[in-house]
Structures are given as C-alpha cells and as structure tokens.
C-alpha cells in the first residue's frame, strides 16, 4: 500500500475510523453527543478532503479511483451524512433513540457509499453497495420502541437481500462473459452494441433488477412507502437522498463507459415510464405525508432514469445534476418533517394543518421543498427537470418527455396538498418545543442550495460538463 493509495482511500477511512472511535467512546459514556460530534467532524473532513485534493490516478491495488465524478459525489454524500447527523441529534433525543450505535451506523453506511462511489472494480462496487445497505437495514429498524420501525426494517431487509442476490449473480454472469472485474473492461465487452451475448443479457437483467430495487423503481418499489413511513425521519432523509444518490452514481459510473448502451434502453424505458406513472398516480391517493413523499420519490427516480436513457444528449449530466438536486431537496423536506415530528406532529395531512403559522420556518422549508419537487422555478427541481427534458428531446425521446411532463403536471396536485395543509385553517395545538440550532442550520443551508441551483446552476453544470466531456 503506497502513500497514493492512502491518499485516495482516506475519505473512506475517515468515516470508518470515526465509526470505530464512536463505538469505543460509547463504552465510556452513554451520551451520544460525542458520537454525533465525531461523526460530523469526520464526514466534513472527508468532504473537504475530496473537494480540496487534486484528482489522483487510479489506485489499482485497491480498486479505487479518485476521478472527478466520484469525488464530487463522495463529497456530496459525506455532506449529506453530516446533515443527517445534525438533524438526528434532537430528533433521537425526543424519540428515545439513544446510544453510540446510531452515529456509528450512519458513519458505516457513509463508508459504504464512499467506497461505492470510488469503485473501479465490480467487486468493490458490490461491497460498497452492500456495506451501505447493511447500514440502512439497521438504521431503518433502530427505533426499537416503535413497532412500525421494526416492521419497516424487515420490509427493507428481505427484498434488500433478494436484490443483493440479484446484483451478485448479475455481476457473476458479467464476469463469466467478460472474464474481468474491471468496470471499464466489463462494460466494453458486454455492452458492445452488436448482437448481445445471452449470458451477458441475463447478467444485465439481474443487475438492473437489483438496481431497480435500490432506486425503488416500479415495479420493485413496494418496500418504499412502508420504509419511508416507519424509519426515523432523519434516516428516511438519508435513505432517500444518500442511498438513491449513490445508486444513481453507480449507474453513472457504468453506463457512460459502455460501447453502446442501446441494449439497456428498452428495460430502462419501461422502468422509467412505469415508475413515473405508478409513483405520481399513487401519490395522489395518499393521506400520510411520508407515504406521499415515498411515492413521489418513486416518480422522481423515474425522471432520473429518463435522463439516463438520454445519456448521449447530455442526459448523464442531467441525471447527476438531478441526483444532487433531489438529494438536497429531500434532505430539506425530511429535515423539515424531522423538526415538525420532533414537536409531536402526527403523520397525516390533517395533522399538518395550520403548522404554517405555528412553525413558520420548518413549514416554509417544507413548502419550498414541495415546490422544488414539483419543478417550479426558480428552484433546483426546475433546473433539473429542465435539463432532463432537454436531454430527452435532444436524444429523440419525445414520447418519454411528453409522458414525463404530463405526469409532472399531475404531480403538482399532490405537492400542493401538503402546502395547502400547512397554510390552511387554525394552527393545531402543537406543543411548541424549542427549535434547535443544528437543525435550523441544515434546513437553511439546504434551502439556500435549492435556490442557488435554481438561479445560478452554472458552476455545477460547468463541473459536470467537464466530467462527462
């Protein structure tokens, strides 16, 4: 192991070390403040490291790369983890989730995400993905006092294990065909654009099935509503923003390296259309805020897949932009939900009535996030959708674009329902608990980024353009 290897691996090592340290400290004190502090510090350090150091060469011995795209997403995911930890502190205290295992597991999941992002090897990729998923299996079920949390954990674990099996089998089949685990070579050899090898075809089918689960694309979406509803709110934020962001990145690492990804167009097309339709239409019927957002996330991932299909027309950039934008928006949305639930707010739309006047800041952020998800300018959501539709039309996917935009119009209705609930009628009797500084900082930063990416997306677009050029 050379110094370069350590340099490249450092961002992954930092959260891992942080996790171990947290567990050790837990043996001394039961106060989880120390764990949270360590967690925030190590994830921020990892993010800074990724943003500051120059791109390095591949570290072949480790199967890790430090190319610009993994570093950008690594920093983004590390910052998400820091945000999640900040949000969790107050929430967990109020919910009675205590102990050092919570921050340690978040850090461990972060470690998995960062390994996944910098993988150059199908095996590292799989290990990273599974490390991340393991973290989430625990985090979803960590609220031991609530039956729903345990139920959600089980509902996430069982299909998760199945999808892991699919992924592993898919990777194995791809290995059979190509004889290499290197992502680049395997892609070149299995997606050639000519007549597909049947084994490669089966491999990609298994692989996509596994990915569809992770991204909660219909028809592999059934776990999503229950998990979104049962998990602690900050975990849902992390799951929705981080796990999906990392999975989108995984596709972004793979697809552009293919000689010709046309083979995947048809299955991805189907996944995108079904997700957009099922997600948006099912969300219309929901009366619980979190379930509504779960279905909305299914639809939103459908839009990301539309971008991935239109890769050649600038779709990869659009997908990367949208993954980041969506991550920030869901962090804001579930951050606001964290703040509201912490003070005893229920989970149905009726419970949210009138919160606009009793909790103006959190409600304002939630409303902003809803408008952003609906794609109203000047928010990050609008810029993202704009890029996706531009890419789709440029690649000739007119039908996909029209279906997408019509359902986006439908989606506005259910996003508005949340906004309406927030600002209608008399404020409900919510015991006002003091707002927490860390929580407010996260919400404020997320809101700022939502606006910033809506009004001035040029810097991020410039970076992405260079990456995919």
């Amino acid at each position: 192991m050379t110094t370069t290897d350590i340099f490249i691996a450092l961002p992954m090592l930092l959260p891992a070390i942080g996790a171990l340290l947290t567990l050790l400290i837990g043996a001394v004190t039961r106060d989880d403040r120390a764990g949270t502090t360590i967690g925030v510090a190590t994830t921020l350090a990892a993010a800074l490291w990724l943003l500051q150091t120059p791109p390095a060469m591949v570290a072949p011995t480790l199967g890790l790369s430090a190319a610009p795209l993994p570093r950008l997403f690594g920093a983004f995911l590390a910052l998400l983890a820091a945000g999640t930890l900040c949000l969790s502190h107050g929430y967990n205290r109020e919910r009675g989730i205590s102990g050092e295992e919570y921050p340690a597991t978040v850090l461990f999941a972060t470690f998995g995400m960062l390994s996944l992002t910098s993988a150059t090897n199908l095996l590292t990729l799989f290990l990273g993905l599974e490390a991340m998923s393991f973290g989430f299996y625990i985090l979803v079920a960590i609220d031991l006092k609530r039956a729903t949390s345990g139920e959600a954990g089980l509902k996430y674990l069982l299909p998760g294990a199945l999808s892991a099996a699919f992924l592993a089998f898919g990777i194995a089949l791809l290995y059979c065909v190509s004889g290499t685990l290197s992502i680049h070579d395997a892609l070149q050899l299995t997606l050639t654009g000519g007549r597909p090898d049947p084994v490669a075809l089966a491999g990609w089918a298994c692989f996509l099935a596994g990915i569809a689960f992770k991204l909660s694309l219909a028809p592999a979406h059934l776990w999503t509503p229950d998990v979104y509803q049962g998990a602690p709110a900050p975990v849902t934020a992390f799951l929705s923003a981080g796990s999906k962001g990392a999975t989108v990145l995984l596709l972004l690492l793979l697809l552009p390296q293919a000689t010709d990804a046309a083979l995947l167009r048809v299955p991805l097309w189907g996944l995108a259309v079904i997700s957009v339709i099922v997600g948006n239409l099912a969300a219309l019927l929901q009366s619980r805020v979190r379930r509504l957002l779960a279905y909305s996330s299914i639809a939103q991932m459908g839009y990301v897949v539309i971008a991935l299909i239109s890769g050649r027309g600038g779709g990869y950039q659009a997908a990367a932009f949208y993954a980041i934008a969506y991550g920030v928006i869901t962090l804001a949305a579930f951050g606001a939900i964290t703040a509201l639930e912490r003070s005893g707010c229920g989970e149905t739309l009726d419970d949210y009535r009138g919160l606009g006047s009793s909790r103006p800041f959190a409600s304002g952020v939630l409303a902003l996030a809803m408008f952003a998800l609906a794609g109203i300018p000047p928010t990050a959501g609008f810029t993202g959708k704009f890029l996706i539709f531009t890419a789709a039309i440029r690649s000739g996917e007119i039908i996909l674009a029209v279906i997408g935009i019509l359902l986006a119009a439908v989606s506005v209705y259910y996003y508005l329902r949340i906004v309406i609930a927030l600002y209608m009628g008399r404020p409900a009797q919510v015991p006002a608990s003091g707002s927490r500084l860390m929580e407010n900082v996260v919400l404020a930063v997320a809101s700022f980024i939502i606006f910033f990416l809506g009004v001035w997306p040029a810097p991020l677009l410039e970076v992405l353009k260079q990456i995919f050029a």
Binding site: F386, L406, Y413, L416, E462
Partner: protein
Amino acid sequence: MTQVPLLSLLLFLPLIGAFLLLFLGRRDRPARIIALFIGLAETLLACSAWFCQVNLLPAAAPKGFFLFEDLPWIEMLGIRYTLGMDGISLLMVILTALVTVIAMLVSWRSIDERVSLHYLLLLAMESGIMGVFLSLDLFLFYLFWELMLIPMFFLIFIWGHGRNIYSAVKFFLFTLFGSLLMLLAIIAIYLIHGSQSGGVYSFGLAELLGTRFSLTTGLWLYAAFLLAFAVKFPIVPLHTWLPDAHTDAPTAGSVILAGLLLKTGAYGLIRFGFPLFPEAARTLTPLLIALAVTGIIYASWVAFAQKDMKRLVAYSSIGHMGFVALGIAVWTPVALSGAVLQMVNHGLTTTALFALVGMLDERAHTREIKDFGGLWGKIPIFSAFFMLFAMASAGLPGLNNFVGEFLVLIGSFKTAQLATVLAFIGIILPLVYTVRLVQEVIFQEERRSLPLSDLTLRELSILAGLALGDLYIGLHPAPLLEILKTPVALLTGGAP
C-alpha cells in the same frame, strides 16, 4: 449604454421589498406602509421609462426596443439574462405598477390576517409579472411565467373565501398544465435552432426568430404555446378556472388576476407565439378568430345570467379579452394596436369594477345583485363611479374601452368580415347586462337595508385615479397609439 439598469431595477425592486417584508413578522402597519412605498417607487420608475424612448442603443438591441439589458447567465446552455422594453412592454409595465398599487390600497383594510405575508406576495407577484413583460430570453420568460403562479395561488387560497382551496388548485393546475407543454416546445425550438445554426444554442428571442420549421413541427410547437397562452387569456373552452378563481379570491387577488395575469397570456402571444411561428400562426388564424368570437358572445351571454356581481364582472372580463384575442388573431397593425390598447383598457376598467364590487362586499358582506338597490340615493359618489366604470366596460364612446374595441373591429373587418360582424354583436351584449346591472343595483328601490357608507378618501383616490385613466384614453388615445406604432409595425412586418 444605459447607465442606470432601469429594467433590472424594475424587476428586482419589488423582490427586494418582498424580502424586507419577510423580516417584519406580525407588524402590520409598517408592512402596509413599506409595501405601498415600494409600489409607488416602482410606479415612478415605470413612468420614468416613458421618457427613455429617445435613448440610442447598441446595435445588439433588437429593433424597436429603447431599453435593453443583456448579460450572460447560464452560458453553457445559451441562456442569457436579456431584458428589453419596447412600446408594448412599456404600457404593460406601467399598467402592472399601477394595478399593483391599487391592489395594495384595495386590501388596506380588508386584509387583517398575516398582513406582511399578503403584501410580500403582492410584491413578489409584481416582480414575476414585470419579468414576463420584460424578458427577451425564452428561458427567463418561462421562469417568470411560472413564478407568478405561486403568489397568486397563495393569495386565493389563504385570503380567499368560499371554495378557496378548490379554486386556487384549479387555477394552478390549469395554468401549469398549459405551460409545461410550452416548456417542452421551448426546449424543442432551442434544439431545432441549435441544429440549424450549426451548434450555436440560444434561448434568446432575437436568435430564435429566424428558425424554420416544417409545417407539422411548427403547428405542434405553436399549439403548445397557444395552449399555455390561451389558458391565461382565457380563450373560451379553457376559461372555466377564471370565474371560480375570481369568485373565491380576495379583492386584491381579483384585481391582479383580471388586471395583469390575463394580460400575460395576450402579451406572450404577441411577443412570442406569432413571431416565432408565423406560418403555423397563419394556419391556425381561423381557429383563433372563431374561438375569440365565440368567447365574446358566449361570455356576454353567460354574464347576463349571473346573480353574483363578481362573477358577472369575471364573465364580462372574458368577453373583453375576446376582443384582444380577435385583434391579435387577425394580426393587422390597426387591430393589433387596438388589442394592446384594449389590454390596457381592460386592465383599468375591470380593476375598477372588481374594486367597486369589493368595496360593496366589504360593507354589506354580500355580492348578490338581488340584495342591492337604490344605491344612488344612499351612496351617491360610489354610485357615480359605478356608473362610469360600468359604462366604460359596456363600451360607451368617449371612454376607453370604446377606442380599443373600435380599433380591433376596424382592423379586422378587412380580413375577417363575418367574425367582425359577429363580434359587433358582442359589443351590444355587454350593454344589455351592464344596463341591467346598473339599473338593479343603483336605481331600483332598496330591497334590503344594508349598512352602506360612502367612499373613504382611500377608496376615492383609487377610483378617481382609474377614472382619470379611463377618460384620458377614451378622449385622447393618440400618445399611446404613437408609442405602439413602431413595435406593432415591426411585429406585423410593415415599415416602422
């Protein structure tokens, strides 16, 4: 060239004001005063633009525009921050500033809940509408086009009454549905232009104007634009959101909706729809004319049956916008000038009528025509204004609406005779329901004793200002027509 970025100031001053109001919390009086101050300053700025018409601009500015600002924004995608003002936008900008101030004054007393939020939204809306009237970049235009929906949605839904949520959502969905398809069309033009110009992608209107389409493509894209604009207009089969929105909106909301938002649809058609797709527009002209005339007659017909005064005004408003649609559809210089003038007229008159109905509603808490009667004896000043604006709306010569409608009819007679003759009936119908309205509300015997008091100074100043505008345009429209001459000639393809 312009030392003071007047257009950017116009665009951002209300937004800055809105931002200030964010920090006022529950302090109502300062909120009202600051908002009004910003509104008045904006009006002053808008009027000062009138005197900038002599300015010489750099060659980059499109013809006919006397104020122009152009900065790079998202260069990678060819998106620029391009603002420009010609005669048409000048009139619209002044109207916007004026109507916003009136909306603020109208809600001075009637809004006593979440006051600073209310004024914040009014200012944010003003910025959005200004942006629509000033943008010369399609991306920028679309941004403002959607942006102005949000404040209006909240205005109807938070301060509205009756089925306010239903109406607010209906308004939002109708308008958004149309505009999302326009977004796809905008992207498509952008890409087609890019491929024709050899990879130079741009959203700038000036660049996109020369883009050629096959007739089918052009028709599809134009249809998407037309849908977005027709919903706002509203052109008849797409109008159903408007009466509901008006019925349930607070007075300030109705004033802005009728006075300004409807104009954005017409403006979009003039600025973008026709110039971008001349061929497709010509192909669909008969359809547009037919819809416009149907709208004129149908809306007047329905207005006649209304029992609620506000709904009556709302339908009459659809009818008047039908004339604007007709003027745009035939696309001759005279008709187009008439249409733009009619937009201003409609802005002044309908605003006044909604304000008047709002004042009655504030006092009597009812808007049913059958509840009123004999106002002439009880509140004479109010009744006088009511009469004046009702007559203006009915198109009495000497008042503003007459001029606009007359010009539209003259301009369209040559190209669309049958439509013009039918539209002429549409001039008579408003007279019928207006006379009935005036007769029942003002002159008939009192039917219920209602607690009515005459106008306060604030209300008097609102109405007097609008009345002066009505009279001025009615008697001496020449200066306005002079301003419109160059841009209209350029748009319709004649010599300036």
